[in-house]
Amino acid sequence: MTSSSGAEERLATAWQSPRGFPGVLSEVNNQPIGKRFMLTAFAFFLLGGMLALLMRVQLAVSDNEFLGPQTYNQLFTMHGSTMMFLFAVPFLEGLALYLLPMMIGARDVAFPRLTAFGYWTYLFGGLIFYASFAVGAVPDAGWFAYTPLSGSRYTGLSGDFWLLGLSLVEVAGLTAAIEIVVTILKFRAPGMTIGRMPLFVWALLITGLMILVAFTVLLTATVLLELDRALETRFFDPRHGGHSLLWQHLFWFFGHPEVYIMFLPATGIVSAIVAAFARRRMIGYVLIAAAMVVTGFVSFGLWVHHMFAAGLPPLSLAVFTASSMLIALASGTQVFAWIANLWGSAPRFDAPLLFVLGFIVLFVLGGLTGVMIAIVPFDLQVHDTYFIVAHFHYVMIGGVLFPIFAGLYYWLPKMTGRMLDERLGKWNFWVTFIGFNLTFFPMHVMGFLGMPRRVYTYPAVLELDWYNLAATVGAGLLGIGVLLFLIDAARSLTHGAAAPADPWKADTLEWSVSSPPPPYTFLRPPRVADRHPLWFPPEENEGESQSPPGDSAVERALAAMTAAPVEYRATLVTDAVEARPQAIQYLPGPTYLPFWAAVALTIAAVGVLGKSYTLAGAGAVATVIGTIAWIHPRDWVSQRVLGSGIAEKAGLPMFPTGARATGWWGMLGVLAMLASALGALVYSYFYIRLFAPEWPPAGTPLPEFGMAGAAAALAIAAAVAQGVGWRSVRRGAPRIVIPALAAALLCGLAFVAIEAFELSRQRFSPRTHAYGSLFFVMHWFVIGLASLGLAMGGATLKQAIHESDGRPGYLPLMIELSAMHAVFTAIAAAVVFAVTHVSPWVI
């Protein structure tokens, strides 16, 4: 960092956020938003922990009436939901959003406004969740909300609180996933090839990709259940052709990967700490990365092992047993690699490493019981007992919470600039470790002795009082452990020693900047030539690296970006595999738009909650308007960007297209989500069709091809027209662009009109039968897609007219993204047509 302090100050000004309340609402920078995510998630963790303590008091002795069954059900539902949805994933996402740019050598994440939107959506979703206490409608159908118990017949308003609060949190999770994936793929420092990414970054990349699929399926499922509850559709209603088990399939298709969505980042934390404390090159780097790739895939193939007791064909169960057992290979590989790294390395046993060692012990125990319950006959014996409670707490607390504490002790000095107290840290570890084992180890035995889970009390005749009392005392100790951490963290803020830039002598880039880091993170973007960039800086790797340190193009880009630009925020874009400089990315500064968009979305959810559909509609419209205002291209931005001259200095473009553009990758992420939603709908259709005695149901004619086929053809025509427009921009023939975009818009409008007409003339409704529910919702899905396409197409046409004088700007990327969406819409329309109109004739 060799620039003058004046340049540094100007750069800091560009990255500074407004102070006070306006700054709170308009902040978009990854560092404060990441910290907010973590703080909010930790607050929810404390709430969820208190609920657990109340439950343990209830269970301390037999035949206890301290809480009563109804309150127990509520606390048990809120505890599980809080820990799974409001704590673990958001905390890890917050840690990722905070650390990622620092770790990979970037100045911010790919879509700063989306980060802010995600945070507000998460906060509002969590508040809706807990507002249920204020109105006396606390969710009580379990954190898994099995139907029919969670249907409107058995669960009132509390079910809506669960579904709508959760939906907002899922939206937040999805936005963070897109951020994480695109940031990793496009913002890595020059030289940080995929073979040199820190293992924490590898873990986050795979986690982000998993969230895109898994959370979308859950979001789809929660929307379907809310439709059942609010509009009386019939997806999960067996009396009208629906199927209760469909919910379990969709929920667990999300639910099992969710375990690994929490676990993989935790293993990334462990790998980072193990490397830093062992102070040697990571042994088994490739094996750990390969294990994470395998885990990412195979975790999607395990969902049925949550349903071994649900009456599925034994052959299905056997297939899933195999993958459930073999995923232990991947987890075991990582465990052996960590042990190999620590073996003989003489590390200092500071608090981060103690929590890592505790993690290894507890996770191995949880993994072993996981392999046991992957075996169907064993699972059938213990499925509804405390053995399962013991297993998943060993995995969740041992496998996720311990690494989180390790990470906090490791990275808090970077975030706050203050060291934590090592003595308190060790006390925290031992109290937490002993308390945890005292709480959960006896539960294995309790399970064997027949203690049923999810039940508010147990009879004295089971003779389980001593085990339960021990578990309750252990839970108290666990609570004291958390309290010790809070005391340590609070004490460090006022009395902690000042943290140096690299207190652990660690290897990754975040330790090269001051503690706490400046808002722009890096004055000069770093260059990387090794997996351990601080231990083996580029100058020591002359002649070895793939991008030679002296590479003039790289040096030119880095020089141009040193303490620059100062007129606006920007970072370097590199290619996804080799991390070679490709472009400079303009990054937006503070704005209220993400906050207002999140408020509008929350109003829509509250409208549905209160059955005030006018309010819900108003909220939805405001969300759309807010989003359009947010993404609408602005001339002053392009003028300022082009006027700064940095592109010429760096020799890189500022308005790239294709795989060079972050927007292109963002759109790819959105399309992956939409494809997952479509897949979940198609699966639901055939699952319900499988169990239907007659399809379509009696009295419903087979669908006609005519109008729907024409609509699908129009969707394809719209995609072709968009494609023609895109090609003409690429070939520099702009006069065809406007007619092509206008034709695409007309085709899209005709598609929506015909689809709407086709639905209006059906002699059944979404309420008559599950067939009608599926038929309508699948077509609503493509109408929604097409409407989004019309908005994008309209904006692109407007931009094409605006840029028809040949000025450089956003048009090439806008038309490319619009075309990508149009192609997906055409594919979705064809799939929906094939499923709803062709398949009933064939199957």
Binding site: L315, A318, V319
Partner: protein, 126 residues
């Protein structure tokens, strides 16, 4: 094979992701056949004393195994070539090849393990 050539790069990515693709396709197919076949009446048909459900799973396993084996072989061969040529383990092509070799190997194992139960359910779905 050089990684700079389009063919070499395609082979490298196939080695990296081929096993994952084969496993995903196999799991989806095996699940669909078991679930929909057993409930949907496919189990009622048999040939040579083996139910149509079992035949179908065996049928989808053969190409899945072939793809996974090919991925392991291609990734393994590429890893050997790149490392002997460049001698640097952090090279992206070498990294991709080795990660593909390990992960495709595990995916191959999982595919075989997933097919093993079929041997116990040759006759029907019960």
């Amino acid at each position: 094979m050089t990684v700079e050539s389009g063919q070499g790069r395609a082979a490298l990515w196939f080695g990296f992701l081929g096993g994952a693709f084969a496993w995903t396709a196999h799991l989806l197919a095996a699940y669909a056949i078991a679930e929909f076949g057993c409930f949907g009446g496919l189990a009622g048909h048999s040939w040579g004393g083996i139910s149509a459900v079992a035949w179908s799973i065996i049928g989808v396993t053969i190409p899945a195994v072939a793809i996974a084996v090919a991925a392991v072989w291609i990734a393994g061969r590429a890893a050997g070539e790149f490392e002997s040529n460049a001698g640097e383990l952090e090279r992206t092509d070498s990294f991709l090849a080795r990660i593909g070799f390990y992960s495709s190997g595990i995916f191959l194992l999982v595919i075989l393990a997933q097919t093993l139960p079929v041997l116990f359910f040759l006759g029907d779905c019960r």
